[in-house]
Amino acid sequence: MTYVSAPPPPPRRWTRSRLAGNGLMLFWLAAGLALAYFLVAQYDAEFYARYTPKFFNGFLVTLQIVSLSLIIGAAVSLPIVFGRTSRNPFAAVPAYSFVYFFRGTPLIAQTFLVYYGAGSFRNELDAVGLWWFFREAYYCVIFTFSLNTAAYQAEILRGAIRNVPKGQREAGQSLGLSRWAIFRKIILPQALIIALRPYGNEVVLMVKGSAIASIVTVFDLMGETRRAFSRTFDFQTYIWAAIIYLVVVEVLRRVWDMLEARLTRHLKRITEAASPDEETPTQHQPDEPPKIEIALPR
């Protein structure tokens, strides 16, 4: 048994894609540096002292709108899922229309319809004592966003429930469980795991969609940004807003990935863990090429 060193890897060639990639990375770097330079050059202590708390408040309002809408939407989506999966047309048709309407029209049009459209029914709403609710842009936005996300969440949940194998339900039936117990203890937990990823997407979409609230005078992060820009005509307001939104979305995505990995860890197969007989005989140093064992003929 003799050891010979493998030849060093050939130098990487400057292929066209490598040139393009390096060029594009250089472009991003230049863009990032230009942005940083812009922010530094425009630095104005007064601007930051004045608008940092406002941006923070706007950020909190955005979080509030998103979390409230998502929670209310989740609650509203349950009856819609029952309607969508029901065989009774009196339940199925309205549920289907609800979902079709909210998924088929732009969120901004829905918001306008509720916020401005409520004014058309002012007397009626006054009579039932709901005018205080529809008078406030904030409530209207929560109302619209909740219904909107309810439609999307209903479709997510319905798809997930359909993806749970039929045998699961049959097994529950053969054990004599009631339909409700089968749904709650067998179907729903498995469906929620399937739905985890689309739910994460929905959360991100909601964060992005919530910027629309700013158009009906709600001062969320986007609203504060627009107000600050209209007063100062300082473009860095938009840049800061972009940075904040990007960070929020990225953090949400990462957290969701971790959450998913944690919740589905019982479904993962163990990858070929280091089994004792596969130990590598040579510990190669990082700076020298790995030794390859070749049985040379004698």
Binding site: T15, S17, R18, A20, G21, N22, L24, M25, F27, W28, Y100, F101, G104, T105, P106, L107, I108, A109, Q110, F112, L113, Y116, G117, A118, G119, S120, F121, V204, V207, K208, G209, S210, A211, I212, S214, I215, M222, T225, R226, F229, F235, Y238, I239, A241, A242, Y245, L246, V249, E250
Partner: protein, 237 residues
């Protein structure tokens, strides 16, 4: 009811013709965005599946930015940012430049950025579904890389991405409504003007929603046709 019909009628009395023009603008904006979004998205997907790490990284930065930003914010950044940028450049040549960015173009650029970053994901997953043997087969019969892409991969890619792209088209159609905020006279803006003038907000915004629904239904029909055409070579199930 009669009153509502009068308001929606065409001619002097009603807002029908204004709204119809809005529908035309909405459709043209979406159709004008589509080719740019598709082409950019395709190249971004190519970059993402490349073996060159720097190219991959650059493409990932692109999608991270434009998928993470709210569409509305992208639109504002393009609209105001381009305005400021062009003014700065024009200041070199002219004393007091009068610059107005066309809201249609700004909308097209912003929506193309958003659409292409989502489309690249659709293309990428379709690329992954095409087995390596298809490329090898292409080079085995002596095709160049471009020919392999055009004659072997692309036809399969179209079929595989169509469902995802159909979805993205419907999203794009809805996203055009945002461009009304920067003054494009699309469906939402025209109905908004009508609502303000006539004080019949519910009627007009309801009409806007119905028009968007109608567009979605019409697109679904067309897309179903395209899908059938793309799958014509598949064995019937």
């Amino acid at each position: 009811m009669d009153e509502a019909l009068t308001l929606l009628s065409f001619g002097d009395q009603g807002w029908g013709d204004e709204i119809a023009h809005g529908v035309f603008i909405t459709i043209s904006l979406a159709l004008a965005t589509l080719p740019f979004g598709l082409i950019i998205g395709f190249f971004i997907a190519l970059a993402k599946k490349s073996e060159e790490p720097s190219l991959k990284r650059a493409a990932e930065i692109y999608t991270t930015i434009f998928r993470g930003l709210p569409e509305l914010l992208t639109l504002f950044i393009v609209f105001f940012g381009a305005q400021i940028l062009i003014r700065q450049i024009a200041l070199v040549f002219v004393d007091k430049p009068q610059i107005e960015i066309n809201s249609f173009v700004a909308g097209m650029v912003a929506l193309s950025l958003v659409f292409s970053s989502y489309a690249s994901e659709a293309f990428l997953s379709a690329f992954r579904a095409i087995p390596e043997g298809q490329y090898e087969g292409g080079s085995a019969v002596g095709l160049t890389r471009v020919q392999t892409m055009r004659l072997i991969i692309l036809p399969q890619l179209i079929r595989l991405t169509l469902p995802a792209l159909s979805n993205l088209w419907l999203v794009l159609l809805k996203d055009t409504a945002l461009v009304s905020v920067i003054g494009l006279s699309d469906i939402l803006r025209q109905t908004g003007i009508a609502a303000r003038v006539t004080k019949e907000a519910f009627l007009f915004f309801g009409t806007a929603c119905l028009l968007y629904l109608l567009l979605a239904v019409a697109s679904s029909v067309v897309l179903a046709g395209i899908e059938k055409w793309a799958n014509r070579g598949e064995a019937p199930r």
